[in-house]
Amino acid sequence: MSLVATLSRAPGDRSGHAVLVAGVLVAVALVTAFLSLAVGPTGFTPLGALRALPGLFSADGAAGRTAEAMIVLDIRLPRTVLGLVVGAALAMSGAVMQGLFRNPLADPGLVGVTAGAGLAAVTVIVLGAGALGAVLGGLAFYALPLAAFAGGLVTTTLLYAIATRQGRTSVATMLLAGIAIAALAGAATGMLIFVSDDQQLRDFTFWTLGSLTGASWEKVWVASAFLVVVVAVLPTLSAGLDALLLGEGEARHLGIPVQLVKRLSVFAVAAAVGASVAVAGPIGFVGIVVPHLLRLVIGPRHAGLLPTSALLGAVLLVGADMVARTIVAPAELPIGIVTAILGAPFFLWLLLRQRSIVDL
C-alpha cells in the first residue's frame, strides 16, 4: 500500500520518487559497504568478513582478534566508513554548490574550491612542522581539516562574489573565475613544494591525487564531525535553495531569507570540501556526477536531492575505492584516477547537452 501511495502523488510531483530512491540507496549502500569489507588483495572473502564482524562488539576489544578479523575490522572497516563519509560529503558539496550557483556545472573540484582547500591544507603541513606545531601542540591534528575548511570558505565566497551580479549568476564567469582561482591555488601550492623537506614532499603527493589510503578511525571522526555540521543545516537550506534556483530576487519575494541561505550554503560547501580534502585529498567529479544523475530521476528539489546525493556519493566512492585497491593489486591506484576516468567523460557529455545554459 505504502509503495502505491508513495508513487501515486499528484501528477508532476516527484517527492515520492525521492523517498523510494532513498530507500533503495540505503540498501545498496549497506551491500556496497559489506562488499568493501570482503574485498582486498587477499581475494574476495565474504565469509571471512561475516566471521569477523561480530568481533566489533566483543568485550575483549581488539586484543584477541585473528589476522583475518584484524584485516577486516582494523584496516578495511575504517577505510570503508571513511569512504562512505567522504563520498557523502563530496556529493553534497556538489549538490549545494550547484543550487547556490544555479547551474549544474558548479563542482568544488572544477571551480577551484578544492584547490583552495588543498592549498590551505598544504600550508599547514609545511608550517605545521615548525612554528604552528609548537603553538598548537595536540591540536595540530585538527588544524589540517580546519585549514582546509577555511580555504574552502574563502574560495567559495570569492567565487560567488565574482560570478554574481545583481542576483544573477553567470555560468561562464563562474567557470572562468574557477579556472583562475584553481591556477592561482595550484601555483601557490607549487611554491610551497620548494620550501618543504622530504617528509613533507611525501605528504604532498597524497594531496595531488587523492586517496583513502591511510584511513584511520581518527580521520573518520574528524570527517564525520564536519559532515554532521553540514547535515544539521540541510533542513534550513533545502527550501531556500529550491527558491534560489528562480533567482535571488524571486527567492526574496517568496519570503526566503536569501542572505542567510547563501551564507549557510557557502558554509556547508566549505565544511564538506574541507572535511574530504583534509582526510582524502582532492577527489574529483563525484560532486557533479551524483547530483545530476539523481535530478534526472527525482527532480531538482533539494529536500530529496541532498539526502539521496549523500547516499549515492557514499556508494560511488566506496565502489571506486574497491576498484582502486583491487585492479592493480597488490599495488593501489589513487582513487582520484578512478573517479576522473568515470567523471570526466560524463562532464563533457553534460557540457555538450547543456551548451545553451553555459552560453559560450
Binding site: A10, P11, G12, P104, G255
Partner: protein
Amino acid sequence: MLEADAISVRLAGREVLRDVSLTLVPGEFTVIVGPNGAGKTTLLRALVGDLPPSAGGVRFDGTRLDDWHGRDLARRRAVLSQSQHLAFPFTVHEVIALGLRAGNTGAKNAGAGLIAGVLARVDLVGYEARFYQQLSGGEQQRVQLARVLCQLGPPVLDGAANWLYLDEPTASLDIRHQFQILDLARQHVTAGGGGLAILHDLNLAADYADRLIVVSGGRLAADGPPADVLTGALIEDVFGVDASRVLRA
C-alpha cells in the same frame, strides 16, 4: 497601501530614478508605461524592495519595507518578474509548488486540486507533469504566473488587501493570453486586491488600467486615469511618435 516618498535610485553611479512620490491603494489597477530605459522596471523594483533607494523610502501598509519580515511580506504580495530562466529539470507542478509553500494557502491544503485550478486559470490544463524547460517562452511565463497566483491567495484576507506586481506580464504572449492575464489581474483588483503592472502596449494599458503612470527620463511624466493621461501632446512628448499612429480611435 503602498507609499513611495520621494525615492531616487542610483545604478552604477547614474541616477535612473529621481524624486518619485506615489501612493497606490487597493482596488485601483495601476499600470506603469514609458519608453525603453525610462526607469519603469527600476521603479517597480524599488517599490517591491529589490533596489534600495538612494534617497526616500517605501512603505507597505504603513511599515517601511526594510522592517517587514520576509515571510510576512511573501504572504501579502507576489511579484512576477521578467526572468523565467531555470537551469534544472523542474516539472510544472514543482515550479508552482514553490509559490504554494511561500504564500497564504499554506502547504497543508496544498493538494493537487489547487495546482490544477490555478493551471486552468492560466490556460495550461494538464501541464502538471510537463518539464518546464521544454515549454515555449509564453507557456513558461504562464507557469510563472500560476506560481505567483498560488502564492498570492485571495484578493483580500483578514481585512488586508493582497498585492500583485507584474513586470511586463504580456511580453512573450499571444493576444488571447495577453487579455487572459490582464483579466486575471483586473479581477483580483476589482475584488479588492492591490495591483501594479508594467505594460508596453498603450492600448492594453488604457483598456485595463484605472490609473496610468507615465515614466520618462527617471521622473513621473503623468499620473491619472488613462483618458486624462494619454493625450496627443504627452504621447508625442514622451514617446516621440504621432499619437494617431499609436492609439485606437
